[in-house]
């Protein structure tokens, strides 16, 4: 069931180009204000200096360091880590190593995640129904599920907070330090680090899978209770562990393949002009692919859930008044779910 669900998820994502485009635009416009603020800071620092010439043509590392030494807040994130694939490594590493972000970035991330939480209802609804829901339906579903998702997010937030504040500190800070303080061979320490990442990653993935299916059950089954959805998700994962984990692993594999490709093609600094825009376009293609992969996680898990819950009683009770849960629509024959 894993591969069919994955294929069906991919099909659902590709048949929802407006969702893909919308999430892309949302991600772009969420980042744009801060980028404009940074641009202002860079321009102000360069002023009329000739240092801008070298910075425009390639990397002017002297100027960069000079800028960094006077930077504060948002501008402190302007480091060589933003160049090419280093940006991706930097971000993954900062999450896995629980490195705090500066306040403006934290605020932007919080806003972005809240907005994602809002849009998730519409996205899930669209992917579950497998037909265009149009703007009214999309945002209607977003609105309907937002408060339920928000309640679920409180629980998720607590779980992730616990994981990063305690489990991470216990494993990768204190644990790693204790395990490796007497290690004379770096390779051994590296293996310990990998092992601890795997343990912590497994905790993260377990939480992630559970909350993913809880969201799916909230939407597909039109559940009101976040706790009930969470219990239901746990039951679902418990009853289908191999397919659930297999599907997650397959999606993760696709994610890592994408990162591999990106590591090869990620554009470097380059000069201003046409090449700059080509590089930016390539980077946006990568962002688009990341969004497709993210949606693919959601869509394939939704497909798996819908394919697995073959009994009729799981649907929500109310009559199909728009917007209605996809499960109800399926019963009413509004749309045809072809997944077997």
């Amino acid at each position: 069931m894993t591969v069919p669900a994955w294929r069906d998820g991919l099909r659902r994502v590709f048949r929802a180009p407006a969702v893909v485009a919308g999430v892309f635009a949302f991600t772009l416009f969420a980042a744009l204000p801060l980028a404009l603020a940074l641009r202002g800071a860079l321009e102000a620092h360069m002023g009329r200096s000739l240092m801008a010439d070298a910075a425009a043509e390639a990397v002017n590392y002297d100027w960069w360091q000079e800028f960094a030494s006077q930077a504060s807040g948002l501008a402190t994130t302007f480091s060589p880590a933003i160049v090419g694939f280093a940006a991706t490594l930097d971000n993954l590493s900062s999450v896995l190593d629980a490195e705090p972000e500066v306040l403006p970035i934290t605020a932007a991330l919080a806003a972005y995640l809240v907005a994602w939480t809002f849009l998730s209802g519409g996205i899930l609804d669209r992917l579950a129904r497998q037909r265009p829901t149009r703007t009214f339906g999309f945002f209607g579903a977003s609105g309907v599920f937002f408060w339920r998702f928000l309640r679920l997010s409180v629980i998720a937030g607590l779980v992730y907070w616990f994981l990063f504040s305690y489990v991470h500190a216990w494993l990768l800070d204190e644990g790693f330090r204790r395990l490796t303080r007497d290690v004379a061979v770096e390779r051994d320490a590296f293996l310990w680090r990998i092992a601890l990442y795997m343990v912590f990653g497994a905790c993260l993935v377990a939480a992630n899978i559970t909350f993913d299916y809880a969201r799916i059950r909230l939407v597909v089954e039109d559940r009101r209770s976040a706790l009930g959805a969470l219990r239901a998700a746990l039951r679902f994962v418990g009853r289908h562990p191999r397919t659930v984990i297999g599907l997650y692993a397959l999606n993760a594999l696709v994610f890592f393949v994408l990162l591999g490709v990106w590591s090869l093609v990620a554009p470097g600094a380059g000069p201003v002009g046409g090449l700059m825009w080509v590089g930016f376009a390539v980077a946006q293609l990568y962002v688009l692919a990341r969004i497709v992969v993210k949606l693919q996680f959601i869509a394939s898990q939704t497909a798996l859930f819908q394919a697995s819950m073959a009994h009729a009683a799981y649907t929500a009770a109310p009559a199909p008044v728009w917007p209605e849960s996809p499960a109800v629509e399926a019963i009413a024959g509004v749309s045809s779910t072809t997944l077997r």
């Binding site: 880590a81 280093a86 971000n91 993954l92 004379a184």
Partner: protein, 723 residues
Amino acid sequence: MHGVMLRSKAAAAALLLVGLVGVEARQAGVQRFDRPQPGARSPRNANYDIDVTLDHAARSLTGRETIRWRNISANPTSELQFHLYWNAWRNLDSTWLRERRLAGDSTPPRADAWGSIDVTRLRVRRPARTDGSFGGIRTNPSFAVQTEGLNGESNTGWIDLTSEQRFLAPDDGNAEDRTVMGVPLPFAVQPQETLDVELAWTGKIPRPFARTGYVDDYYFIAQWFPKLGVLEDRGWNTHQFHRVTEFYSDYGVYDVRITAPREFVVGATGCRASLTPEPPVACAEGIVWLGNNYPQNTHRYWAADVHDFAWTASTRFIDVRRMFEHPGLPRVEMRLLLQPEHAGQETRHFDATAATLRYYGEWFGPYPYNHITIVDPAFQSGSGGMEYPTLFTAGSRLIAPSRVPQPESVTIHEAGHQFWYGIVGSNEFEHAWMDEGLNTFSTARVIDEAGSPDRLALRFFGGFIPWVIEDVRLSRATDGNRLTGYRDNAEADVQATPTFRYWPGTATFITYNKTALWLHTLERHLGWPVLQRIMSTYFDRWKFRHPQPADFFAVVSEVAGRDMSWFFDEAYRSSNVFDYGVQSFTSTRVRLKPDTTSEVRLTPDAVQSASEGTKEPNGYRTVVVVRRFGEAVFPVDVVTTFRDGARVTERWDGRDRRIIYTYNRPSEGLSVEVDPERVLLLDVNYTNNSATLELRAGDASLKWSLKWLVWLQDLMLTYAFFV
């Protein structure tokens, strides 16, 4: 006429200065009798004969030593002072640990981390023999194992002073600090008189502190034995062990026998004179001989004309050797003790060491020893990047991309310390810049000259995974000389302050970075041939001696042929910041008088009258205001470029707060640069050194904000994992 007279006077003064200093080619040092012993390179006034046993199970050392010490100061002394460095980790209130807390690290050492040293016996005597031989300390290594010191001498005349030892705290009066031990003598040791001192001691080996200690089966043993301070003409110079400073001691001969479990590979200062039980003759050097059944081996190392002795032991070392050969320089056997996980990095270590021996040898003076040992430290040993005579620790990583200068930069730096520290023995407690700063400058120069890797790598995932930023090339001038660290801490301390009094958190920036930057500034100001002669003269004059800052400055002025004290007043004797910049730059259309197309220097009030604005504009009035934003003064060039390609260069002495240049020319001004060759590398803000009327900041900021935008999008999508 007036100008000619001034120039003549200046030339005469310079000649007089050169003449005066040149006559006294050998400047007076801190010790009146610091001339080399006959047939030796150094005074050899502190000679150590040491037996030490490593107890691997107990993590301890037991040792005894005999010091034959000669008073080479101008005055008699009735006291001996010793460093007991390992007592820096004896208690929480040692000066070293107090200063570590000041630097921001308040983590107390773990229970099994402490180290200490206790002198269990101390006795002295005036030797009866005066034939120049050193009793048990031989001037040539014998391959027979010595069992006891003081061969052939009577065992009489010793005065036991064990009970007389007391702890001194000359720097901060800290009664809890036991890193300096003083012993009063029952007699005065006269200038040039010799004294034998015998000590026995035990040492608890710490977990790594200050690059000494053990981890697993790796030991790096430094500052491990009771060591005499330096008796200068003005008295004993024996500082406590400080967090930010290193060491200072006299030159001598070290004859050391290290007894360790036989499975350990041992490396040490000097060359190995013997191994007991001796391996078969057929057993090649460098091969660990495990053909006996004795539980322990005794490794005898011998080194002459050095001022310290360090050693290492590990069961895992790969022992590799290669010969350094370069025309005009002596051959040197390079020995590398490599961690097995770094197998494959041998060439990088050897090439970096060879580049150091070559370039330092060519620029400053040849490496005088025929051996050098490179120790690749164990992970978590904290012993990487440290220098000791004829032996140093480098430092590499499991994943070490070839385009990134690690291990090259640390290897070159520590190998370079053989010259600036090992051979020129400056006082690291008081003037750490004299070795660290000179060496940072020299390191960057060698890296540049040798074409070593120069890309920037960032490390992720706990520091284990490097990623090379191909677009970022590290430059010698700014990255090699570490401008960034200095820029952020430029006013932290006056460099002339004794180093041990620097603020612990920022000492390194004043010691390493600032010196390298002002030396490179001097190189660009005077030219490399002159600076090279300065440094080689200084090296030759002060090798195997203890120079003071004034000695270096004197050589600079002497070789440069002019008084450079103004520069050291700014760079060394003050914490003033250098910052020149363009305050304003305008170029406006004006009607020019026929005779005003010239460069004139005007006051702001006079600018308006420089042209007539009543008729059709036929040219441009370009006004440049250059400002000294910082307090420090240095002469700078100001280059104005015009749209027709013309360039006008002005030389400004940089003393006033600002200077105004006005140009009435047919062509519009395009840009202005202050110090365009970047001679003044100490300038903390180079962005403000130029201005242009063709702005590129918009393009550049657009490009970089787009890069950053992608980074932020990526970050947002990474966090989207959680929703």
